[in-house]
Symmetry: C2
Subunit: 232 residues, 2 copies
Amino acid sequence: MIKSLKAVVLSSGGLDSSTVLAMAAAQGFAIYSLSFDYGQRHACELRAAERVAAAAGVQRHLVTRVDLRPVGGSALTDDIAVPKARSESRMAEAIPVTYVPARNTIFLSYALAWAEVLGAWDIFIGVNAVDYSGYPDCRPEYIQAFETMANLATKSAVEGKGRYRIHTPLIDLTKAGIILTGTELGVDYGLTHSCYDPTPQGMACGSCDSCILRKKGFADAGVPDPTSYAPQ
Amino acid sequence: MIKSLKAVVLSSGGLDSSTVLAMAAAQGFAIYSLSFDYGQRHACELRAAERVAAAAGVQRHLVTRVDLRPVGGSALTDDIAVPKARSESRMAEAIPVTYVPARNTIFLSYALAWAEVLGAWDIFIGVNAVDYSGYPDCRPEYIQAFETMANLATKSAVEGKGRYRIHTPLIDLTKAGIILTGTELGVDYGLTHSCYDPTPQGMACGSCDSCILRKKGFADAGVPDPTSYAPQ
């Protein structure tokens, strides 16, 4: 693959998207990473995304401010309590309060806009259908529908210059599989941030759904977990 | 139709979306109008959207800040000259520099998010395939693809609570047809703003594509044009 092909990679600073970034880079794409300042209750993940981008030597890292707070409706943007210490079977029962309405749709729409401006045809997103915690916008049929729409939405595609592809290289991987893949590619997971409810100092809580899945992933992969968890 | 059904209406303060808002209200929907502060070079259209919402007595008018400037690539957000005094055949030749990459996709994504939070299933957008000025994201096949995607993207739809519909009541109307429809519904077009390049005082330039189509629409409809155009 020619080195100069550009890809837009959605990067949250978390374990999954940081692995995706390394996978896209390993495929030879020049990486344009995109993070969103969307009124998260904490900014740790934005700092993590910057660290990951710098470590990976991306072409450009862009932080775009999108205000999801007026839309509301999620524990990640509103003052709704983040659930703690849930079993995996409990997590799978229903779509959790950490669901942000249409979040991936809004994020992919921005990625599409930036891709068109950059002349990139490839967009990478770290959605995962195994550990996806019940989010509807992490399923393959959703991604396929977005891709179809993207190719009808844009000047470049409609003029026949190319075809947008939404890459989801994690879609069928377990958390352990993701960690093993990233570890092989040299991802430093100590730079990444997954916790939904960190301490004011940015330490992971260790008991939200995201921390639980992360801990279990490292354990299952047999890879040491570099995360500093807050004392319980 | 039951009065309490809610609809999200994308409102730019322009002639088209103000007509759509009146059409949705005439169908009995409780209106939630949504405008975007996206780093437009001028804020006239946001003020117009507020005037139109107030005149229509909407349930709520929400202005969300979305920063499209980092994405760039359009005369509406960047310092690219707005084309003037073009003939309609010249406008139809190519997608114009006023095209903002993936703009309707980003806007509809926000509308979808708000609709899900409100419990609304109906989203109205004033796209038009006749006078659409060459924007790919104003075509029926694009809207259909967005609707399909929306129904796979969201918790409410995936849980089977309903089905999102993207309404495009202007899609087959000429500008004159839109003006006649709105006039019958009592829309005060003097409150609306269409110009891409207004004077610092907010007067319409009279010579950009949008002003030309607006003037011609009123002339073709045989309706007096209430717009104050700047002296040429």
